[in-house]
Symmetry: D2
Subunit: 330 residues, 4 copies
């Protein structure tokens, strides 16, 4: 489907830098998805999308509150600090989620000229630990942030999985980010079946006024943008993005069901989205990784991360579970 | 061809972040093209590739010498200054080219702690004005730069057109950048027929030691890198990149031949690569731009830029020339 | 006088970071000098004061227009680019001054996402070439800038000399920067007799809302601020700052009068403030510099810079002129 | 003494930017103190000195390891991130000290292109919690850092107090930072009796090669440097810096002795240097702060910070202790 979209976008010529029908269509589709006019900026990778969103939301001399396990804090090689010149203030998280108390505590620095000044709260949904904030939790966090003058960003590299997990279709997305008052989202495509496509969505459009300049400054402007926009069009039409994410979630549940009996009790929690985090004997993990690569997650705890995807099949799951069984010597 | 490469790269799974066969193949092909082992970093857009190359070449507290008309100075919205934190020092250029005298003069600042310290000389080849540095000119500039401790970068968004214009095949590239001692190149793909693919090539590999970290920091790491690498593979195999660029150059010559008779003498110079810069009556230009978009270039001089591409056909040229004739009232 | 101020400030204890009587007094004095409430930020050096003022005035993704000979562009080692992450766009100047046409031309980039976006116009008063903008010239430049949405900064490292040259006392300052609508000034003290004291004055206080945080971020917050504020108090009380600058200006006129007859016609222009820029035979200049140091200025033109100061005496001038006479062999 | 030094430095003229006898003398004195040739850079404030030292020590794309309570992490408003563009990675500390295990754990990120790459370990001596690393602890931390390719910085805003606490005179300093192999120190003066004077000392001089440019870039170059250098001369001659710090330490011990009996057991630990951190009833603390200002420290624990200084007298201590007694109602 994505490939077909590229084939189609490859016919004829189009203006560069977003003045093309695919990008226009993509903007329309995002407006429809969110149920209101939003400002959409196509971006070229996930780190860049996060940096662009934060660049738009940050005022002078502000810092970013985020979870200690957040991708922007841990997995972006310091790109945010380099490109934004802003401090990231890590908040203690539980299962990847931060809470209102942590935000409140960090905001005590506000007004003290010696301390970095929180200006944006960045949440990851679904989180790096495969968990989801409930709609109410997001609402409470947004309220706490807004009450202190902060804006709220969602790193939505996997927002599709979180919305799919809610089971309310596109209404779930609106409840999650529109009704709660989130200001901007990094809306991921690459982790949900696209070749390479990310978007920054400013729900609060007043923060988007400088975004086209910022996008170029942070190295996120694609000249032949239609090839990225076309991918998003393919995903957004007929709600495919939710179908794909829902499938990935289902495969994770299947993977959990197939492997939990092979592991000690408590060694693998039931997944909320498309990732499971088993605790494995290190030697067994290494053997498995050589056979079928997956990432270490929390080394100290011998915890690993298994991901399913839009194109994972039940057969893939069965084969992998059989491999686990074999290696664990059952 | 590029699309076929994507179709092929879309089959099966591959490891992310460059640990895939297409990226390995791409690295091998670049080694072959340059006739020696180089360090290749796939990047996601042209501004990002320039910033990444410069990030690798710059030492502490250094500045970049570049032409006053260079893309990094004029057309990147200040991305280099933002992401590098480094000053760009514009040198006066003639037809897009800087000379040894300008470099020498700028290097008088070296050692004075009050002045920005030139650390890198960045040249564009072919230049923003559609001209080329000769191999000897590059050699002299590299020598002048190296003699003062600077490194040399080539913004090669259109290096294919410059190499094709030399008419020596891949040997021309080696004469141009290996024999002269250039340190790093932004090797463009997007302007030469690819969907969206750039590469930074460190010819002097000692400057590449931190490049994988820098790439992530400057928002240029693609997770599904194979879809970019596969494009480059398609271009590099069988020297297609030079054929495409050579074709674009030929079409520009054809465009010049077809339109020069329609314009006053001196209003359109013979092209070296794939761009011509006609001086046009502004109203005629506006009419033409509405019919078939092209960029203003030097507004004060009523000068415009017409580009040809790898896929421009002789018929395209004829049709456009007919349009020019019609608008100019011949 | 300055030393006496330090002696006095050294008695007893005071709260740090500006919560002290000297800083409060200094703020009051600046309000009086400008004839209105302004926001005063004591800073620790001239480069830092400029960077702080610009940091307050710049919005997201903006660049700074300045003269090609400006201190921020030429004599600050790239500090503005590093700390602000913003491009400086040099405008061609004549005798250190830029004009409305240059500003207008540069502002054509506004709205084009590929070009750096001018957000601040920075003027130096008196200029690096010892000239002054007239009040009308500043008014016209501010109007041109404001009309396009830019803010205006004055690098006033030597603003005292420019105001003294007007001969209108403190009213001259108000005409120059209040009536014209300048947004912020780097108000220099160190070049006007202080040990080390600079201030950033936000005349348009809405740009000062983040200034206390920015000051710390750009390394300009002094803990024992009273020792800097006390210097400014000494300068501002009884309009000493204007007396000192007026004296320096007078000494420059005396130096010009004493040396012009020794030099070829046209080799030394009559000074507007406290600097003269003689063209000298290089060997003679070198001999003089070894005897009494002064800076090269425009090497290509064999032009040098002689400065006078608040503490230059007529005897100093006579002695120096005698040295010039001796070396030039009269 | 410091004031006398300023009076003396104010006589006659001197070249700017460090080409003066006081700065030369200061450099010589630092060489003598450290017992070897070091590179000394006079700086203008503490945050700036830290930023300058780190700027010299950091290579491309590197991050800084520091304690979660460190001044650079908590009390510099994000200046390091802004000016360095580098991530600060906070390590869990106990009583302000980090240990080898925390460093080792953080260095597991080395070589992974997705994680920020530790390049410098920054230690504070004495720490923000008034504790000191032992010489052996510093040695072990330096060894652990160097073994992984990191350099080591000491934030020595209060290094004088730590050296004085060792009781070995200047030999203690050498044991602490030369024998252990520390690479650079921010050597504080302002917190040890000077009006405003900091220095960055590169013990490993290879990291100082770009330092004069970096100093200007990070807004730390003083034009009339002699007025800062003269302060350091006054402090370094006759080991006054150690006498002053030793006195401050003694006064803290006296303060502890006078107040500990007034507080519950365990509410105030015996000081290692010149700060004590009492746990106080909040209302009592507020009353005391209104009478004689001191900082909150760890609000959650009702912990405050009392500092003594080079000029604290036994009478000051007695008077303050009497105030505490009065407020606490004994």
């Amino acid at each position: 489907m994505v490939l077909e979209a590229l084939v189609e976008a490859n016919q004829g010529h189009a203006l560069a830098y977003g003045d093309d029908p695919w990008t226009k269509r993509c903007e329309t589709l995002f407006n429809e998805v969110f149920g209101q006019a939003v400002t959409t900026l196509i971006a070229v990778n996930g780190t860049g999308a996060n940096v662009l969103a934060l660049a738009g939301l940050l005022n002078q001399a502000e810092a970013v509150l985020c979870s200690d396990w957040s991708h922007i804090n841990v997995d972006e090689t310091g790109a945010p600090e380099r490109v934004l010149g802003a401090k990231l203030i890590p908040l203690t998280s539980v299962a990847g989620r931060v809470d209102v108390d942590a935000v409140t505590e960090a905001c005590r620095a506000l007004g003290n000229p010696h301390h970095a000044q929180p200006g944006v709260l960045s949440l990851t949904q679904s989180t790096e630990w495969g968990t989801c904030y409930s709609v109410d939790e997001i609402g409470a966090l947004v309220d706490a942030a807004h009450a202190r003058g902060l804006r709220v960003h969602i790193d939505g590299a996997r927002i599709a999985n979180a919305v799919a997990a809610l089971g309310l279709g596109v209404d779930g997305l609106r409840a999650m980010v529109i009704d709660t008052g989130v200001d901007a989202i990094s809306f991921g495509g690459t982790k949900n079946g696209l070749f390479g496509a990310e978007a920054v969505i400013f729900l609060n459009r007043e923060h988007a006024s400088r975004a086209v300049y910022l996008r170029k400054q942070v190295n996120q402007l694609a000249s032949k943008m239609r090839f990225i926009s076309a991918q998003f069009c393919a995903a957004l039409e007929e709600s495919r993005w939710l179908d794909w994410a829902g499938h990935a979630n289902a495969m994770a549940r299947q993977l959990h069901a197939a492997t939990a009996p092979l592991l000690p009790e408590g060694a693998i929690a039931s997944p909320e989205v498309n990732s499971v985090f088993p605790v494995l004997p290190p030697e067994a993990a290494t053997t498995l990784q050589e056979w079928c690569f997956f990432w270490d997650w929390n080394t100290a705890a011998h915890q690993y991360r298994w991901m399913t995807a839009w194109d994972t099949t039940p057969e893939d799951v069965s084969r992998f579970a059989a491999g686990v069984k074999h290696v664990l010597g059952h």
